[in-house]
């Protein structure tokens, strides 16, 4: 069976969803479709059966620009390497174009064992990022600061707050800051301990959990100024809790390293594969790239 390799286009969405359904038995999340249509840069590569034109393989990509100090870096965040069973001998073709990209960093956050094996062989650098959970409860002082912030008309302080696909993009001009604090946060499928405790009690009393979809842990994926964040973390934690029902923050260890260890719990490690191509990575200790988790393993 011969195939043709080409770039993915917006008009391929329906066919890619079909491919997900065929390979995984389920279509991707709504967030995926929204992100797919919202991105105008490289969306990945696909394989078409050259006889009937059907898409039989896909290796997706979301492309982002991120500021790192004075530099603006381009990230090709690859995800979802899926190929129909009968066409698996062509699957490497989907990876090859990424090796040729020389103007950015190619990343992969969702490698299963097989994909990891391939990426390592192709000299993708493997990085383990330890994560910490920022402990709740909220302090009285942060609640007071939060109230003061509200009095100063918080709406004027929020330069940007939207939920583009999955998660939350925030750009805050807080009174104490001279620069805007930009962040990207995304929920992870875990509840903080305080929610688990409440749910345990409610299970015992009412035979059902009290808090189901809200107050999850959210992971910080991007921040433009780590130092600013650390300075404002206490008040920010309160803000996110009150405004967005964020039950706790998960921070990569290098962001949390300046924080008091008593406020942190070790959580888990993320494995990231990264290919720097022609861009030096020596100074990059945290990957400033937006991550798009589909919660489906690559196949």
């Amino acid at each position: 069976m011969s195939v043709v390799l080409r770039k993915v286009e917006h008009s391929d969405l329906e066919h890619i969803q079909k491919l997900f359904k065929e390979v995984y038995g389920q279509t991707p999340t709504k967030g995926f479709s929204a992100a797919f249509l919202a991105h105008n840069d490289l969306l990945g590569y696909c394989l078409e059966d050259s006889e009937n034109g059907f898409i039989v393989g896909y290796f997706g990509c979301f492309t982002y620009w991120r500021e790192y100090g004075e530099r603006s870096l381009k990230f090709y965040n690859t995800h979802s390497w899926i190929v129909k069973q009968d066409y698996r001998n062509h699957s490497m073709k989907l990876l090859m174009p990424y090796l040729k990209l020389k103007d950015g960093l190619v990343t992969n956050f969702s490698a299963n064992r097989k994909v990891a094996q391939v990426l390592e062989k192709l000299k993708f650098e493997k990085r383990e990022i330890r994560n910490y959970i920022l402990k709740i409860p909220l302090s009285i002082s942060s609640i007071f600061k939060q109230m003061r912030l509200k009095e100063q008309d918080l709406n004027d302080s929020i330069l940007e707050a939207h939920q583009p696909c999955v998660g939350l993009c925030l750009s805050l001009q807080m009174p104490a800051l001279d620069k805007a604090l930009k962040m990207i946060l995304k929920p992870i499928d875990r509840k903080p301990i305080w929610v688990q405790t409440i749910n345990k009690f409610s299970q015992f009393l009412f035979r059902k959990p009290l808090i189901t979809s809200s107050y999850l842990l959210w992971k910080l994926h991007y921040v433009n100024q780590v130092e600013l964040l650390n300075r404002q973390l206490e008040i920010l934690k309160t803000y996110l809790f009150l405004h967005y029902k964020i039950g706790g923050l998960v921070l990569p260890s290098n962001i949390g390293k300046e924080l008091d260890a008593r406020n942190l719990n070790y959580s888990h490690s993320d494995t990231i594969f990264i290919k720097a191509n022609e861009i030096s990575l020596t100074e990059l200790d945290y990957l400033f790239s937006e991550v798009f988790y589909l919660n489906i393993a690559d196949k």
Binding site: N89, L99, V115, K121, L122
Partner: protein, 79 residues
Amino acid sequence: MTKLEEKLTQIMSLVFEIPEDRIKEDSSPDDIENWDSIGAINLITAIEEEFDIEFDDEDLLEMLNFQLIKLKVKEKLNA
């Protein structure tokens, strides 16, 4: 068949679990079922170990069939 061809045939036969006589000059992922992504990586690793050479990722882009692999190995051995 040269020694190099013989060795490559043996390696491919072992990696892809197919008889040696199925491996032809133009054999590629199109006609060898187990030549998927993992198969390709296993093949490259086996060749590197056997000949004590190392491929760059750019090389991998060109190793699309038996003949091209043979040329690449020759090139590396002569380098």
